[in-house]
Symmetry: C2
Subunit: 237 residues, 2 copies
């Protein structure tokens, strides 16, 4: 299957979602054209509810009228359905594909999980534990990058691939959160490969073209935190 | 890549693990020969620690000296590395593959998660909530089976595929837990398709060949519960 005309590919998304960003990154890196539809998550469209009745979440990719849900599933779909268009996200040989899928699962199952637990931590003890878990996951990913990249800039080698996109989707949020907290998650002192990776990935033309505006993201995050704090303090909505 | 001689495929497992069972099921359904190595999880082998340094868990498949970890990753690897051997687990066309991956992710992300939360519930309220979540996930899977199977017996259609193996790995535990509690998770009254699926899947020769003994599993589960109860009561190990 080839193609990629914007008339047949539609992405239902929300501009600040790291999971939607993954799909934008994959489509951009492969050069697949698409129509983007911004969803209001407080009032989801009929199309979203019909396309993803189980999770009712973005991103949803609709290709030739058929919906595909879950960012990691969508990325693999894009790689397979547009195999003839642009660079491949996954390598061809089965072991390389398995290694990429392992790290993709690690990013969601360990790094994203630890980050979201850390962000919901209430006590100082929980916060410290959350930070420790995130740091440990980042350190593990530094080792993964060393092993996968073989001295090349990306998890995918010379070009950004599946793992790069899975992690790269989080990059805008990592950068925004770092700016708010005055920290450096991919610290050149402790994780030099990931720090260089973040610079290299972030400056790819295909990536710059779809990255959300960082200051807008900081503003969005601060408003979100304020709402959460107000809710925790028992304020009414 | 073809092959499947038992000299080149090794599975590190633990007999009662539903995730290991998935790999056994996939190898059995495809007819790939392998050497099975039972691990003592209280004293993990050097080979396990070296092959899965990040998670240190079974199952690990070692093929031509290269380790592959995580059951869902291993199943896709088996399908790709032994593409010429036996039936395919995933369909060929991209949308069907995406749908299968979506339901595989749902089984681990929703059903397994809800079951494990339910089993760790302490209060009656938590137990009731856990049961409700499991029942909702099973009901959703009934709908998935209706949509995927198209009137055929398996998620994969006429033959058991990726989703069948992902869910089928849990079947021995579901049956053992049902027996202990006197319930029916895949109840013919409420989820007739899944109830028939469980019978059909469980009576395939390739499945019967690798299913663990149910009474041994009940015994194992009861010993596990007793240890957990003793620990909760403050007894020493």
């Amino acid at each position: 299957m080839a193609g990629g005309g914007s008339d047949e590919v539609k992405l239902l998304g929300m501009w600040a979602s790291p999971f939607v960003l993954r799909v934008k990154l994959a489509l951009s890196l492969k050069g697949v054209g698409y129509e983007y539809v911004e969803e209001d998550l407080k009032s989801k469209s009929e199309l979203l509810l019909k396309s993803n009745p189980v999770l009712q979440k973005v991103p949803v990719l609709i290709h030739d009228g058929k919906p595909i849900c879950e960012s990691s599933v969508i990325l693999q779909y894009i790689d397979e359905a547009f195999a003839g268009v642009g660079p491949s996200l996954l390598p061809e040989e089965p072991h390389g594909r398995a290694v990429a899928r392992f790290w993709a699962a690690y990013i969601d199952g360990t790094l994203v999980k630890a980050s979201s637990e850390a962000s919901m931590a209430k006590t100082e003890e929980e916060k410290a534990e959350g930070k420790k878990q995130v740091a440990a996951a980042v350190e593990t990913l530094e080792g993964a990058l060393r092993d996968c990249s073989n001295g090349k800039p990306f998890f995918g080698g010379d070009t950004a691939g599946y793992v790069d996109v899975m992690l790269g989707g989080l990059l805008a949020w990592v950068n925004a959160a770092d700016k708010m907290k005055g920290v450096k998650t991919f610290d050149p002192a402790t994780t030099p490969l990931l720090a260089a990776w973040a610079d290299n990935f972030g400056s790819l033309d295909a990536v710059e073209a779809v990255m959300p505006d960082e200051s807008k993201l900081v503003e969005f995050a601060m408003a979100m935190h304020a709402r959460a704090a107000a809710a925790a303090a028992g304020a009414t909505n």
